[in-house]
């Protein structure tokens, strides 16, 4: 691909962008949020039409104007934003458009067999007949990967495939990638996780502001060089100062929280100025716990105490009134009002603050607050009146973070806050969380990235299968966390039995 241009209303997403992929190569595409990575790949896979430039396949210029054409040319893509049909089963999603038929009738048995075979080859335990909407995002992501694999393409594009995956799944994915590579498949790999780039890719192409910056071999280029190519300057990666919060007053106490098999008797406390990390494997129940505390889901038992007082939280509204904020892990479904503009999304949880007499809104105040947040979090958007759905994935995540910062809660629960966020912004967010803690705010960070948990937390709560299997001090080792995260036979259950 050479000389690719692409503009959207008010945004020049690509200008003279360039990319090249060899067979049997894993080629990482890097860049900050909004650099144009997804857009470039959408052009390659026939989702967008380019404004200018040439696309060549095996040396021959090709015109790709529809996803179908890309598929026929042997190009398939795993989109950054999940593109699944929620009401269909996993197997039905994978083979959409290519259903096996017999006498015109769908061969559902074969469909499920084929899907099961793909899952088996991925070492994935998943019923082909389960409806996609009942799956966690991680499992949904695995379905997307299975779908892309099922095309047996010569070119496979993966746009942040690991954003929602845990380490075990990532390892599995990398095994698959290595297998494909051996078969001569060319793979475009987009990710904001720097360690993965080193582990998996052969070459790295960096983009900035829609332009081509350079291509370097992955093995002999230091990470810092790649990062400075991305952000156009060197990032100082200063060690974080974690002020001690051990004797600060209690902000939040959760006692014996229960719901079915997802949350089994979870108790912990959180002090003001403290960051409590939540680690665990996919499906450990961290999200469920957070949602139950926030009142987003029903509880079957347990008490919640805020600042030493027992509170009844029956809905998110109650939680917010008690000063609790929750940043959801699924921004598209639960975080963003995609039809509204950036300004209103940022103000959404704080509208009452901007409401004057007769319910009239202080639009100027909202604009000022939104623009402040846009600057603070370096959200890449043409203006605060841009529709939120038109932002790049990482910038959408920042908008949701800005919403909760503006709300000014005392207790903040961040569920996968850096999902899809670039390195530069990530360290900004780490700094921000630290600053918030320093202000005395109590923070829970749920993350599937252990380095992130280790870097941020004063203490680390580990969950496994709905139980809190232990709370570790800040400096604990990864091995210690993994041991608790896989502790199937818990001591707690025995204690209850006795």
């Amino acid at each position: 691909m050479t000389g690719i241009d692409k503009s959207f209303p008010g945004v020049r997403a690509l200008s003279q962008a360039r990319f090249e992929l060899l067979p049997g190569e894993v080629h990482a595409l890097m860049g900050e949020n909004g650099a144009g990575k997804s857009t470039l790949m959408k052009i390659l896979s026939g989702v967008y039409a380019r404004d200018a430039g040439v696309v060549k396949l095996n040396g021959m210029p090709v015109e790709i104007t529809a996803p179908r054409q890309a598929q026929d040319l042997g190009i398939s893509i795993i989109h950054q934003e999940l593109a699944l049909m929620r009401d269909l089963t996993a197997a039905q999603n994978i083979f959409i458009g290519r259903e096996p038929r017999r006498f015109g009738i769908l061969d559902e048995a074969r469909l499920n067999r084929d899907a099961a075979a793909i899952f088996a080859s991925m070492n994935l335990r998943l019923e082909p007949t389960v409806k996609v909407e009942t799956l966690t995002i991680a499992k949904q992501q695995m379905v997307e990967i299975a779908k892309a694999l099922s095309y047996r393409s010569r070119v496979l594009i993966m746009d942040e495939p690991t954003a929602a995956l845990n380490d075990a799944e990532i390892a599995e994915l990398f095994a698959i990638i290595n297998r494909l590579k051996a078969e001569g498949v060319g793979i475009v790999y987009i990710s904001h996780k720097m360690d993965e780039i080193k582990r998996i890719s052969d070459r790295v192409t960096v983009m900035r502001d829609g332009e081509y910056v350079g291509t370097v071999p992955a093995a002999d280029t230091p990470i810092d060089t790649i990062i400075s190519m991305m952000v156009g300057r060197t990032l100082t990666n200063e060690a974080l100062v974690i002020p001690n919060a051990a004797d600060a007053p209690l902000a939040l106490e959760v006692r014996n929280l229960r719901r079915g098999r997802e949350i089994r008797d979870v108790s912990f406390s959180l002090r003001q100025g403290e960051i409590l990390g939540f680690a665990g494997l996919m499906g450990a129940g961290r999200t469920e716990t957070a949602r139950a505390i926030f009142g987003a889901d029903r509880r079957e038992g347990g008490e919640i105490w805020v600042r030493g007082q027992r509170v009844g939280i029956a809905s998110p509204r109650d939680a917010v009134e008690k000063g609790i904020g929750y940043l959801s892990e699924d921004r598209k479904l639960f975080g963003l009002a995609t039809g509204l503009d950036v300004r209103n999304n940022i103000a959404l949880a704080s509208l009452s603050r901007f409401t004057g007499p007769f319910g009239v809104l202080d639009e100027a105040g909202m604009a000022k607050a939104a623009q402040g947040a846009i600057r603070q979090l370096a959200i890449k958007t043409p203006s605060d009146t841009q529709e939120a759905r038109l932002l790049s994935g990482g910038n959408q995540q920042k908008v949701v973070i800005a919403k909760w910062l503006l709300r000014d809660c005392d207790i903040l629960i961040f569920d996968e806050p850096t999902r899809g966020i670039d390195v530069g912004a990530k360290s900004e967010i780490y700094k921000l969380l630290n600053a918030l803690a320093a202000e005395g705010k109590a923070i829970i960070v749920i993350s599937s990235e252990l380095p992130e948990i280790l870097r941020l937390s004063h203490r680390i709560a580990v969950m496994c299968e709905g139980r809190l299997t232990g709370i570790l001090p800040g400096g604990s080792s990864q091995e210690e966390i993994m041991r608790l995260a896989t502790m199937r036979e818990p001591a707690m259950e025995l204690r209850h039995a006795g």
Binding site: V47, A66, P67, R68, A70, Q71, H79, A83, L84, M85, R86, D87, L88, Q92, I96, G97, E99, R101, G104, I105, L106, E108, E133, K147, R259, G260, R261, E262, R291, A296, D297, R298, E300, L333, F334
Partner: protein, 331 residues
């Protein structure tokens, strides 16, 4: 509208799928029980047949609407399209005097053609389904009047015609069960539609389109073609409804049909199909259509004053759907 926060399943208690499905009938069964107790005339064979007969046309229209609604669209033209197809049958059989099978074929093809037009306007011109089918509703209403010369076309010269809906093949074999053919046709259409939805590619894409049209497009599927196919299928089904109503009335009444779309859509939604697409069943729609006719019939049998009938109907429709919501929540 989102079920994502669906509560956890009660551990221990597991209710079998069959029982679960049976409960879906609960609103209908409750109505039947109440009316049976209230009036001895309700549970008579004659009256049950009258109810089924009254369901046949709306049921078939509702099945057509179900297909379209599952794609996330809407079809306001089902009622006037039904009439248009009846008029076409009238022209073929009475004005041209052609044989009965041609009339049947003509009515169904007219439905298909109209569905093709709606589908094309929606898929290719990107006109929202509400507007496209609203336009078609008016166009077909006008055309029915134009073609028929604004008067009913009678089928007196086609002796077998009234048998389509009013005859009883079963009754000829088992005289104790004089189920009218119209009712059989309703069930046949329901079976075929359920088969198409569950077992064919068309059905698969119907659900997929309603679930996430953009994802289907990104998967390389020719979204436009399948969408048009769904509207065309729904149109053909409206053609069957046209034959049913024409046969019942032994005439094509060109002015009839507007307003029928609301009853059809109501049956679909009462039956649990979501207007936002992606989910729905033909069985649910049948139950929805039956609830509507049982209500109307029962209230009449009880000689409830007509103005109160409307009030009661409105209330019970809300309660029936609310009961269904409660049932799903507690299971």
């Amino acid at each position: 509208m989102t079920d994502t926060a669906a509560p956890a399943q009660k551990s221990g208690i597991r209710i079998s799928g069959a029982f679960h499905r049976l409960l879906a009938f609960s609103g209908l069964i409750a109505l039947v029980v109440v009316f049976s107790l209230a009036s001895p005339n309700f549970m008579q064979t004659q009256n049950i047949l009258a109810i089924l007969q009254a369901t046949s046309v709306n049921g078939v229209l509702a099945i057509a609407a179900t297909l379209v609604i599952i794609t996330g669209g809407i079809d306001l033209s089902v009622g006037t399209l039904m009439t248009f197809c009846a008029v076409i049958a009238g022209v073929i059989l009475t004005y041209f005097g052609l044989p009965l099978p041609l009339g049947v074929l003509g009515a169904i093809l007219a439905g298909t053609a109209s569905g093709l037009v709606s589908g094309t306007v929606i898929a290719k011109l990107k006109v929202p389904p509400f507007i496209a089918t609203l336009g078609m509703m008016l166009i077909l209403k006008g055309l029915s009047l134009v073609i028929s010369g604004t008067r009913p076309i009678y089928f007196n010269d086609t002796p077998g015609f009234t048998q389509i809906s009013q005859g009883s093949i079963i009754g000829a074999l088992v005289p104790a069960l004089p189920i009218p053919n119209g009712v059989l046709i309703l069930f046949a259409v329901a079976l075929i539609a359920a088969f198409v939805l569950g077992k064919t590619a068309l059905g698969r894409y119907t659900f997929a389109l309603g679930s996430n049209e953009e994802a289907v497009r990104l998967s390389g599927v020719n979204v436009d073609r399948w969408k048009i196919a769904v509207y065309a299928t729904a149109g053909s089904i409206c053609g069957v409804a046209g034959l049913l109503i024409a046969s019942r009335l032994n005439s094509a009444q060109p002015a009839l049909g507007q307003g029928y779309e609301l009853d059809a859509i109501a049956a679909v939604v009462i039956g649990g199909t979501s207007l936002s697409g992606g989910r729905g069943t033909v069985l649910g729609t049948l139950i929805g259509a039956l609830i509507i006719s049982v209500l109307a019939n029962g209230l009449r049998i009880l000689s409830v004053a007509q103005e109160w009938q409307t009030v009661v109907t409105g209330t019970i429709i809300i309660l029936a759907v609310y009961a269904d919501i409660l049932r799903r929540r507690t299971l």
